[in-house]
Symmetry: C2
Subunit: 678 residues, 2 copies
C-alpha cells in the first residue's frame, strides 16, 4: 500500500505465538504493557503437538485464572504401569507407580493437546488487553543498537516485519481438513523436517499484493520462534548438543485393543522389538510413542532419517510387534509424527538483556517426558514479570540478568534428564544380570521415580541473585555473576520447608473474615505484585503480638518500602501485597485485632477482608496445618517474600523489617512522585 | 405483517424465562426436544433478585456441567453468626454454626445473583440446542382441548402469542442504567408492586407496528411465569395462603462498617429495634434483610404497604438502629427492594398432566432463607426429564402425575418452613424466661440448625409412586393416588443409607481403568438416562462373581429391558446406563474380568472404559469407602436404580433381575422397532 514502510514503537515485541510466546503475552496483558506478538504461520495449532501439563504448569495457569479450564478438559493421568518381558520374553506388568508424586502439589499431571492450551492463553489475552496475535507476519530484518542497551527509555531494537497473504502463511499441516478424512501430516513440524521459513518467504515474494512491510522499534523483544528460531540466528547464537540414532514414531489414535492398561501411562519394554510409551489423552485418544527399530538404518548421507519411509502404518506395525500378544488397531487416527532423539541447548539466552530467547529456540529434546512445552512456558513465565516491572519503572534493569542465570540452568538440567531418560527408554531390556548392554529394569524404575520429581516442575530451585536471598551454590560449577549477589541473607531455619529459590508450596488456610478455606497459592495470582507474607504466629501471645505490631509500624511508616516504591496514586497493593497468616484460634480474634496496614481501608470498598488468614480447622475441608507443614514456630513466626512468580526470595525474622527493606532497595526504583501508568 | 396469525407446532412451550423456565428449557435442550420459551419482558435480569444456591442446586448445575462456573464466581458462605442482645441490651455474638451441615454434599451453599445464574442456563441452552429465549413475547389466549389429553401424539394446547416492541417490553427497572449513577428501583417486582402485565399489554395496544400475533399448538406447556402467573389464572387455579404484617427491606451494598462479622451470614436480633440478616455476596457486596418496624403501619386500605414511603435511606436507618453500636454506611448501592412476608401455595400444579405450573406460580414466601429460586428450579428439574421421556416415546404418560404428587408436598414443606422461620426471625427476642411474647434465642438457634437441613435441598424425599419403589407414606395425610403405586418393592436394608425417594448421596470411587477418583455423582450427568448401578461387591469372591454374572447374563439377553426399551439404532447407553462399582482391590482385576454388558464395545471407539468403578484408595484424594458409607455389604452387593434426576427409585438384590425388569415394565414403552429420533 505505502512505498515507505510504516514505522511504530512498542514496549515489547514477541516473535512466535506458541506456548512460550503466548505466556509472555499473557504477562504483558495482565500487567498492562504495550506489546505486539507476531507469528509467521497463518493459523494456530488444532491438534497433535505437545500435550503433557506438569503440576507446576497447572499452578501457573491457575495463578492466571484458567487452571480450572485445563483441569476440567484434560485427561487426568494418575498411574504409570511398567511392562517388561518375563523369563519367556512375554510382556507383563511389573509395577504400578503414581504418575505424580503424592503431596507435591494440589494438582496432578494431566494431558491436553496444545491447541486447547493456546486457546486458554488467547482467551485470557483478549479478556485482559488489546493485544491480538498477528498471524502471517514474518520478521525479516533485525537491527540492535547496543550502545542504547542500558538506557531505560530507549528503543534499541528495530525489526522489519513482512505481512504474508493468508494463503502463503498457511502451512501444509492445516491445509488438509482437521476433521475430515485426510489425516494431517505430522512430520511438517517434526525435527525430521527442515525449517519452512524459506518456503513461506519465497511464496510471499511471488505475491506482491499482500507482501507489505513495516518497521517496529521495541524496547524489549522475545524470540519464542521455535527450534529453527530466526531471532536466534540473527543474534548469531547457536544450539549446542547432539542427535542420536534413535527414531520414534508418534500416533494419536482411539485404540481398539485388549491391552488392559491402555488408560494408564505405560512404559512397555519388549524383549527385542523396542519400546512403547502409552499416554492416555482426552476424548478417548491415546498417544503412543513407538520406537522404530526397523527404521534405524533409514538415515542416509547425514544424521537425518528418510521421512518418506515413515507412515502411520509403519509406526502401527512396530507398536503391534512390541505389544504382542495383545492386539492393537484403530479406526480413528487424529495425528501422527516421527522424530529423531537429540538434546541441544542454546549458547546464550539473552542479548544485552534486551533481546531474549525462550522455549524451543534454546532447548530441544525428545518429547516423551512431556517436558518441552512446560519448560518453554516456564521460561516466559520467569521472564514476563521481570520485563513488565522494568518497563513500568518498578524495577531496575539489574533483575533481568537473572533470566539467563535461572533458565539456562533449567535447560541444562532438562537436557541431562532427557538424555538419561531417553537412553534408558530406548535401550533393550537386560536378559539377565550378565547382560551388561541391556537396561536393568530395576534401574529403569528407579530412574523413572526420580525423574518424576524433576518432571513435575516443582523441583526447580533458582540460585542466589539480587532477587533470591540465599548463599550462592558454587557446587554446580556454573560461572556466577558475582555482580548479582543478594543484598541480604535469609534465615532459612525459620521456615525450613519453604526453600528460598523454590516455588512457594501450597497448604490450605482460612480467611479470617469468612472462614473460607483457600490454598495459599490461590491467593497469589500472577498480577505482577510482590508478596510479603507475614506469618504472625500465635497473636494471642502478647510477645508475639508485640513483634507483629513492630513490623506493622515499620510497614506503615511514610518512609517504608511500601510507600517508597508504590506510586502515590496507585492502589495500596499494586506493587506489594501484604498477606498475614496467623496461628491463633480463628474465633479468638477478628480482623480489627490486627493493625490497619495488614487490612487496609478504601473509602469506596471499606476494609479489605482478603488480607488476613488463619491456620485453623475448616468446616468442610479439614485443617491445613500450614505452620507445621512449613516448619514455622507459632511462637516465633517469620516474614517470607515471594516474587510475582511465587518463587521464594527471602525468609527472615518477623520483626526484621530492615532486611526486607534492604532486599527491595537493591533493585526497586522509587515511585513516590510517579503515577502508576498503564 | 400478516393479517392472519401464523400457526406452528411445538412439543413443549415454556412461558417465563426465569430460573424455573430456563431449567425446563435446559432439559429440553439436553434431551433434544422441540421447544420454545417466551418471556414477556424484553431483557434478562442483571442484578439484585434471589441469590442463594443450595447444595442440591449446585449438584444439579454440576450434573449439566456448569456447576463449576457457579462455584467459581459465587461467594462461599461458610459460617452463620448469631447476634443477640446481652443483659444490657447490646448486641453480642452468641454463636457460630456452619452454614452448610458438614458431610451432606460435596458442595456448600453459595451466593450469586440471579443474572449470572440465568447466564449459565442461557449459555448451556445455546451450546446444546437451537432453542433461544424469545423476549418481549406475551401469551394472550389459551385454549385446551381436554378430550385430547391422553392422546400421546396430540397437540391439545393452543396459545396465541403477542410480540411486543422492544421498548414496551422493557420494564421500569432496567430502563435506568445498571452501572450508572441511577440506582434501580427494586420495588418493581416486589410483592408490594402490582402485576405489570396490564401495563405491558396496554403499551402494546398503542403500538400497532410491533404488535403481531401468532398461534402455537403444543403437546405440553409449562407456566413458569411468576407469582402473577398468567397461565395459572387462565387455568383458574389459585394461590392459597396468607400475608403477614411483617415488612422487610433489602439492601445490596458494599458496606462501610466496623461490624466484625459482615462477611459471615448473620442473624442479628436487636433488643427492640427489629432484626437484620446479613448475606455476604460476590464482588464485595453484602445483602442486608432489614425488618422495617417503623413502617409496620404503612399499610392502608388493605394488606399492602405504601411503597412510596420506603426508600434505601429508610431501610439503611433501620439497619443502623438494629446494628448499633456498630457503624454502617455505604458509598455503593447495587440494588434494593422491600417486601411483605406471606406464604401461599398453588391449589393445583397441573392441568391433565399437559399444562404444568412451576416456581413462584405455585409457591411464594419470604426470600430470607434463600429457598425460592432453588425450589423453583428444582420444580422444573423434577418435571423436565419426565416430559422429555414421554415426548420421546420412552415412557408412558403414567409418570407425569408424579410431578404434582412430588412437588406439591415440597411446596407445602417450604411454606411451613418459611412460616416458622419468618416468625422466629421477625419476632422480638425474649427479655427473660418470663417474657412469653418474645422469641427464645435458644429455640431460634435450634430452629436455625434444623432448618439448615431443609434449606440444603438434600432432605427432599419423594413418596412412593410408579417411579419410587417403596412403601407409601400414609402418615403425611395427603391424598395418595393409589393408581400410581410402585410395581415392585425395594429391599432398603441392602443399602440402608441410600434412601429410596431421596437423591443419591455422593462418595468418591475410582475408575477401574485409569485410577482416577470421581465423586459418583459426577458420573450421573443429567442427560435423560436412567442408571442401573451394579454394586457387584468383592468380585474376587467366587460366589459374589457368580451372582454378578447371573445379573449380567439377564441384562445381556435379547429380551432384557435394556434391549426392549433401547431403540435398535441408538447407542447402548442412551436409555439406561449400567455402571458397576465393585469392592475387590483395584489392582487385582482389569475390566476384562467383567462381562461385556458392563463395559460395552463400540467398533469405532473400542471398549467403554468409563463404566466400571472400584471402591479403593486413590493416589492423591484418599479413600471414598462407598460400601461403608452406603451400608452395602461387599459379600452381598445390590442393584440400585436411579432416575434421570439422580433420585433413588429402587434398591434390590444383586441378582434379582426380575424386579428391575418389572419396575421398568410398569411405565416404559417398547422401542425395539423405533429409532431414537431427536
Amino acid at each position: 500500500m505505502t512505498s515507505q514502510p510504516s514505522e511504530s514503537k512498542v514496549d515489547v515485541l514477541i516473535v512466535g505465538a506458541g506456548p512460550a510466546g503466548l505466556m509472555m503475552a499473557t504477562w504483558m496483558a495482565k500487567c498492562g504493557i504495550s506489546c505486539r506478538i507476531v507469528d509467521k504461520r497463518g493459523t494456530k495449532v488444532f491438534n497433535g503437538q505437545a500435550d503433557g501439563l506438569q503440576c507446576r504448569t497447572l499452578e501457573i495457569f491457575d495463578s492466571f485464572g484458567f487452571g480450572d479450564r485445563a483441569w476440567k478438559e484434560a485427561n487426568h493421568m494418575l498411574e504409570i504401569c511398567l511392562w517388561n518381558p518375563d523369563k519367556d520374553g512375554v510382556i507383563r506388568r511389573s509395577d504400578r507407580i503414581p504418575d505424580t508424586i503424592p503431596g507435591i502439589s494440589r494438582f496432578q499431571q494431566v494431558v491436553l493437546h496444545q491447541g486447547r492450551i493456546e486457546r486458554f492463553f488467547l482467551d485470557f489475552i483478549a479478556a485482559h488487553s488489546d493485544i491480538r496475535v498477528e498471524r502471517g507476519v514474518l520478521p525479516s530484518k533485525l537491527e540492535f543498537d547496543e550502545s542504547l542497551a542500558e538506557d531505560t527509555d530507549a528503543y534499541p531494537i528495530t525489526v522489519t516485519l513482512r505481512h504474508l497473504s493468508e494463503e502463503e502463511a498457511t502451512p501444509g499441516q492445516v491445509a488438509t481438513s482437521a476433521n475430515g478424512g485426510a489425516v494431517q501430516d505430522g512430520l511438517f513440524r517434526s525435527n525430521l523436517a527442515a525449517d519452512d521459513t524459506a518456503d513461506l518467504l519465497k511464496a510471499a515474494d511471488l505475491n506482491a499484493k499482500a507482501n507489505t512491510t513495516e518497521v517496529v522499534r521495541a524496547k524489549y523483544m522475545l524470540g519464542a520462534d521455535g527450534a529453527h528460531s530466526w531471532v536466534r540466528r540473527e543474534l548469531g547464537f547457536c544450539l549446542e548438543g547432539e542427535t542420536t540414532d534413535y527414531i520414534w514414531g508418534v500416533l494419536d489414535i482411539v485404540p481398539l485393543t485388549n491391552f488392559p492398561d491402555i488408560r494408564s501411562r505405560c512404559a512397555i519394554h519388549s524383549a527385542s522389538s523396542g519400546s512403547v510409551m502409552v499416554i492416555p489423552r482426552e476424548n478417548k485418544l491415546v498417544r503412543l510413542y513407538i520406537q522404530l527399530t526397523t527404521t534405524e538404518k533409514l538415515g542416509e548421507g547425514g544424521s537425518r532419517a528418510d521421512r518418506s519411509k515413515i507412515t502411520p502404518d509403519v509406526i502401527l506395525k512396530a507398536a503391534q510387534k512390541i505389544m504382542a500378544p495383545y492386539t492393537l488397531s484403530y479406526r480413528k487416527l487424529d495425528w501422527w509424527t516421527a522424530y529423531q532423539i537429540g538434546q541441544r541447548v542454546g549458547s546464550r539466552f539473552s542479548k544485552n538483556e534486551r533481546i531474549f530467547l525462550a522455549g524451543d529456540a534454546v532447548h530441544t529434546h525428545s518429547p516423551k517426558a512431556g517436558q518441552g512445552m512446560n519448560v518453554s512456558m516456564q521460561d516466559a513465565y520467569n521472564l514476563g514479570w521481570k520485563v513488565a516491572s522494568v518497563v513500568k519503572g518498578t524495577s531496575s534493569r539489574a533483575i533481568l540478568s537473572t533470566y539467563e542465570s535461572e533458565r539456562k540452568q533449567i535447560a541444562k538440567d532438562l537436557i541431562d534428564f532427557d538424555h538419561r531418560f531417553s537412553r534408558l527408554f530406548s535401550g533393550r531390556p537386560a536378559k539377565d544380570l550378565m547382560d551388561e548392554e541391556g537396561i536393568n529394569m530395576e534401574q529403569f524404575k528407579a530412574a523413572f521415580e526420580k525423574g518424576n520429581m524433576f518432571a513435575s516442575g516443582i523441583a526447580v530451585n533458582y540460585d542466589a541473585s539480587n532477587i533470591i536471598a540465599k548463599t550462592a551454590d558454587t557446587s554446580s560449577g556454573g560461572a556466577k555473576t558475582t555482580a548479582n549477589l543478594p543484598s541480604v541473607d535469609s534465615t532459612q531455619a525459620l521456615a525450613p520447608k519453604v526453600k528460598v529459590g523454590m516455588r512457594m508450596p501450597s497448604v490450605k488456610v482460612l480467611n479470617q473474615s469468612d472462614a473460607r478455606p483457600w490454598h495459599l497459592q490461590e491467593r497469589l495470582p500472577s498480577n505482577g505484585t510482590w508478596r510479603v507474607l507475614v506469618f504472625a504466629g500465635d497473636v494471642g501471645d502478647a510477645g508475639q503480638k508485640a513483634r507483629m505490631l513492630r513490623l506493622a509500624d515499620s510497614l506503615a511508616a511514610p518512609t517504608s518500602f511500601l510507600r517508597r516504591y508504590t506510586p502515590a496514586a496507585a492502589r495500596y497493593d499494586s506493587v506489594f501485597e501484604v498477606l498475614t497468616v496467623h496461628a491463633a484460634p480463628r474465633a479468638s480474634v477478628t480482623i480489627f485485632d490486627f493493625p490497619e496496614v495488614l487490612r487496609p481501608f478504601d473509602e469506596l470498598d471499606g476494609w479489605d477482608y482478603n488480607k488476613i488468614f488463619v491456620d485453623d480447622e475448616s468446616y468442610h475441608e479439614g485443617h491445613g496445618r500450614i505452620y507445621e507443614e512449613f516448619g514455622i514456630d507459632p511462637k516465633e513466626g517469620c516474614v517470607i517474600v515471594l516474587r510475582p512468580d511465587q518463587y521464594v526470595s527471602y525468609v527472615g525474622a518477623l520483626d526484621d523489617y530492615a532486611s526486607v527493606d534492604k532486599f527491595f532497595s537493591s533493585f526497586m526504583l522509587s515511585r513516590q512522585a510517579q503515577v502508576n501508568g498503564k
